[in-house]
């Protein structure tokens, strides 16, 4: 049984014990901690603390829940100078799964009369659902290579957006060091017709409106005044990313044996940073991350096209600028202060969002004094949040915060709980237009299957590893 110590209202310490090389810490209040303790997430935070070269602490966010190997909602940084490792399980199958938020110059009152038509057209124009792809837009080998190398920069160069989009995307929409040669043929085959598609499960496109503002000035700077209509896009690297993860878990299985790495869970397979296996994975993972940035860029282009068609104005006139695009499944080289000095470490964020503070050199001009926008989607019936990165996050969590709500019900439980209910009607009556490729997805994703994201956000706000700016209410949801 693991020893856990409560530090304050929002922090729980897992002191170094057994094979742990560093302490673990979980950010949660009493209520969330009760849920977190009910599954294996705490043990998984402790397991990650056993990996070679981990520095600082193994971190769990308030939305943490059981994952395979690494918990979902976990952050861990590894120092190559101390034998640190990279692990595909610390990124997850959906490499660079992330969220993009567009704002519009439209108000809820202006959009509501045309909402049903808007949702119909989004559903027609953007493939969503299991294995959904484009029949008429299949990338050639050369083009997919360009996507893997250049990410959203490729999409913008092809006319699917503008420079402003790139400035407001994490890493400018392109991770350096991407190496398409390390992406296998099967991954490429899976990615050919899926660029610009939503996927299934918890991925979505959502039209929202700002219904509450916690920081007037920051909200205004982000273009999120009360009543403003916004569009969330949540997706990742689709089948290409899954295949890259799968391929490299097998590579790492051999590597872990080769380098004599003792693992508490096989899904934590890893290789020392700087080893040929780690270099190949970082090259392939970064390429898949670039595919994901391009994927969300392409969807944003289609969303803008649909708004242009419905509102008969160009997207620039409609004020449809990008607020931000941020990854929540990724491993990246970053510089952080560890043990009193700056170190270049490989930060794994699996179900956690980068949350850099004001003044960080990676922030675009418009946000330099504000902090990095952090996008936290909730469930499809309640609300989502926009936060800003803080100094606290930079000091304590390698500049990271939470990523969403986290499930409380299994998919089967969720389906059982809604049997006999007309969900589409229920959402419609709440003012939410839902379009989905299958009833099953809606049933699995009902709001009661998730934690209340407001509870999660209130912990990160209270702990100072994120700062609340605005709350968004859904008006239209497109699911796979």
């Amino acid at each position: 049984m693991l020893e856990i110590q409560r530090l304050d209202d929002y922090r729980w310490l897992i002191p170094r014990q057994g094979s742990m090389r560093v302490d673990g810490i979980i950010y949660a209040d009493d209520r969330l901690m009760t849920d977190i303790r009910a599954d294996e997430a705490v043990q998984q935070v402790a397991n990650v603390a056993c990996l070679p070269g981990i520095v600082g602490r193994s971190i769990g966010m308030p939305d943490i829940h059981w994952g395979y190997g690494f918990a979902i909602g976990g952050v861990a940084a590894f120092d190559p100078d101390q034998g640190g490792v990279v692990s595909p399980g610390g990124v997850g199958y959906d490499i660079n799964c992330g969220v993009r938020l567009l704002r519009t110059g439209l108000t809820e009152q202006e959009v509501r009369p045309r909402l049903a038509r808007l949702m119909d057209r989004l559903y027609e124009q953007i493939p969503a659902g299991v294995g959904a792809g484009y029949k008429s837009f299949r990338l050639t080998a050369d083009r997919i290579r360009a996507v893997l190398e250049r990410g959203a920069q490729w999409a913008v160069a092809e006319g699917y957006g503008d420079e402003g989009d790139l400035r407001r995307t994490e890493a400018g929409g392109r991770i350096d060091g991407a190496d398409p040669d390390q992406v296998g043929d099967r991954a490429v085959q899976r990615g050919r017709d899926q660029l610009g598609t939503v996927g299934s499960g918890n991925h979505f496109i959502e039209i929202c409106h700002v219904d509450e503002v916690y920081d007037d000035l920051a909200a205004q700077r982000l273009g999120l005044d009360p009543g403003t209509v916004t569009v969330f896009i949540h997706s990742g690297s689709r089948g290409l990313g899954y295949q890259v993860c799968d391929d490299y878990i097998q590579v790492m299985m051999t590597a872990a044996r080769k380098y004599g790495i003792d693992l508490p869970d096989r899904q934590l397979v890893c290789a020392p940073l700087g080893s040929p296996e780690a270099d190949r994975y970082m090259g392939a993972m970064s390429a898949a991350a670039n595919y994901a940035f391009a994927n969300r860029q392409m969807m944003a282009f289609r969303v803008r096209e649909v708004f242009e068609e419905i509102f008969k104005q160009g997207w620039q006139k409609l004020g449809m600028t990008l607020v931000y695009d941020v990854a929540h499944n990724i491993a990246k080289w970053e510089t952080h202060e560890v043990g009193g000095r700056d170190r270049r470490v490989c930060v794994h964020r699996k179900g956690a969002t980068r949350a850099f503070p004001p003044g960080h050199p990676e922030l675009p001009d418009g946000y330099a004094d504000l902090g990095q926008p952090v996008l936290i989607p909730g469930d499809m019936g309640r609300y989502s949040f926009v936060l800003l990165g803080t100094d606290g996050a930079y000091r304590e969590t390698f500049g990271s915060t939470c990523h969403g709500a986290g499930r409380t019900m299994s998919r089967r439980q969720a389906k059982k709980s809604v049997k006999g209910r007309d969900l589409r009607r229920e959402f419609h009556d709440q003012g939410i237009e839902v379009r989905a490729s299958s009833f099953g997805t809606i049933a699995e994703e009902v709001p009661e299957a998730y934690k209340d994201v407001a509870d999660v956000v209130s912990v990160v706000d209270g702990a100072g590893i994120g700062r609340k700016v605005a709350r968004l209410r859904p008006m239209g949801v497109l699911k796979g």
Binding site: Y93, G201, I249, S410
Partner: protein
């Protein structure tokens, strides 16, 4: 974890975040077959109670045309072989749009499986399986000679 019966020898595991299955079989070859059918049942959303007897041989509104495709997978032991086998079947489903029906295996060793898979055109799946994970993965021969496996999928 809660559980429900699936195709013969398969018990589905219900977890908050993901899905999994336990598989029992009389031989390793039968384990591979049953695990393949179990994974397809999950793909088609047939793990719900009352649908446990459904197998890929039942109608999913697809053509009855069969294709024979060769397959070969390797791994560092039975559990890794099982995972690699399921990944192969998942790849056939997603990219070649073919679903496993049965196999004729020439080699069923500890480190290699090779043979022919009989498959038919895939239908419209109910969910996406992102990966066959190593979490809690096992394929173990029991003292009486039968086989038992556990596989957790990322969905």
């Amino acid at each position: 974890m809660n559980s429900t019966d699936g195709p013969a020898g398969v018990t589905f595991l219900d977890h908050t975040a993901d899905l999994g299955m336990d598989v029992d079989a009389g031989s390793f070859a039968q384990l591979l077959h049953r695990a393949a059918l179990g994974m397809l049942a999950l793909l088609y959303g047939e793990e719900e109670e009352g649908q446990g007897s459904t197998t890929p041989d039942s109608s999913r509104g697809r053509s009855l045309r069969f294709d024979a495709v060769s397959a070969e997978v390797t791994g560092g032991g039975p559990s890794e072989l099982l995972a690699a086998w399921l990944r192969e079947i998942l790849f056939f489903h997603e990219v070649r749009h073919l679903d496993y029906v049965r196999s004729e295996l020439d080699v069923v060793g500890e480190y290699r499986i090779a043979g022919t898979i009989l498959a038919r055109p895939a239908g419209r799946a109910a969910r996406e399986i992102k990966g066959v994970t190593y979490h809690e993965l096992q394929a173990v021969q029991q003292p009486e000679g039968t086989w038992r496996a556990r596989v957790i999928f990322d969905v």
